[in-house]
Symmetry: C2
DNA sequence: AAAACCATGTAAATTGTTACATGATTGC
DNA sequence: GCAATCATGTAACAATTTACATGGTTTT
């Protein structure tokens, strides 16, 4: 049982999902490829944590829908009592920022402009996501899902993503403001 | 040449460092253990990216100090022209947040209280770090290092770390405010 | 018909962590 | 003496990514 395994159980604790769906939904919190998810789901099934049902579809290819078992829920409850390990962030841009002074400011500006664009797109997607969660849980303006609601966790995470995204945008804009604009070079 | 390799070159582009120092300094941006760093440095030396000199110390064990070569600088300059790949963040707390509703609010509060503490300690360390960088680069209040200064990159990254840390603290405090406080259970 | 998305899997390679190993030096 | 920090390395294991493989369905 590694972290990704618990992550899959965590998603399955609210609704049954296919491996493909799990792969898409876990991305924002714990990036993983389908080649990691499928064998892990098979292992969780062997361990009795989840059950699997083949669902035939007419409009799309058939799929295997996984559901969490009591044993899986128990594993989650146990897991929640141990402190979360420190978050791990790996950002190539940070490493590049460290040696920026070795290239033309224009080259550096380009790096941060691209990242700013990345965060602006992310913000856009997030706002839409939050709107859709609000609709599904039938919430009024500024109203929170209750702690018992399966959307409570999703809501606080979306809020974190939103706050982080805005901070990152602010930071990128500040960096672009402090990197000198290219002077006309020697004619 | 993987990202960690470029990261080491990036750090070496400002000053020569031992493998041990590199290991400590790269942690905030790209976590890596010494077991990954030492063999990689040996490879970079074989590739002619860095040179190594044995430095004898009387107060501490002897060490190998690595310096970047022209080939290493050229590799960095090339690397800076390609866009940085998307940052990767893996946070177990996010996965736990998703299935929180399956346990008592007190259990959840504990998770976020621990994380809040983690970020508060980090903020403390960051503030001291920023102060020391300001001293080394002899900066007045609110003054930035120039783009050419080797501290420019460090400064903008410290600023990012500071902004992110504050956002995370704010978020943790908000989460602790919205998780219901344990009601007296059935007597 | 080609591209895009849905869907599931395995194999190989790379990256990263933990454990094994060793040893100097300093402060308690 | 013992723990902590400094210092370097290798081996085994676990996690992750990339590539290989296949095939249905929908939209352009």
């Amino acid at each position: 049982m590694n972290t990704l395994a618990y992550g899959l159980l965590s998603l399955l604790s609210h609704s049954s999902l296919s491996g493909y769906d799990l792969m898409l939904r876990i991305q924002p919190f714990w990036p993983a490829k389908h080649s990691q998810i499928y064998p892990l789901l098979a292992r969780l099934e062997r361990n009795g944590m989840v059950s699997c049902e083949l669902v035939q579809q007419s409009d799309k290819p058939d799929k295997k829908v996984y559901s969490i078992n009591d044993k899986g829920i128990a594993a989650l409850q146990e897991w929640l009592t141990v402190p979360a390990s420190d978050p791990v962030m790996r950002d190539e841009l940070m490493l590049k920022a460290f040696c920026m002074s070795h290239v033309d400011p224009a080259v550096s500006r380009e790096l941060f402009a691209a990242r700013l664009e990345h965060y602006r797109n992310k913000l856009e997607r997030l706002c839409q996501k939050i709107k859709s969660v609000r609709q599904v849980d039938e919430l009024e303006e500024d109203q929170m899902p209750s702690y018992q609601s399966p959307y409570f966790g999703a809501y606080i995470m979306l809020n974190k993503a939103l706050m982080s995204c805005r901070t990152n945008i602010e930071w990128c804009e500040w960096v672009l403001a402090v990197i000198p604009v290219e002077e006309a070079s020697v004619e």
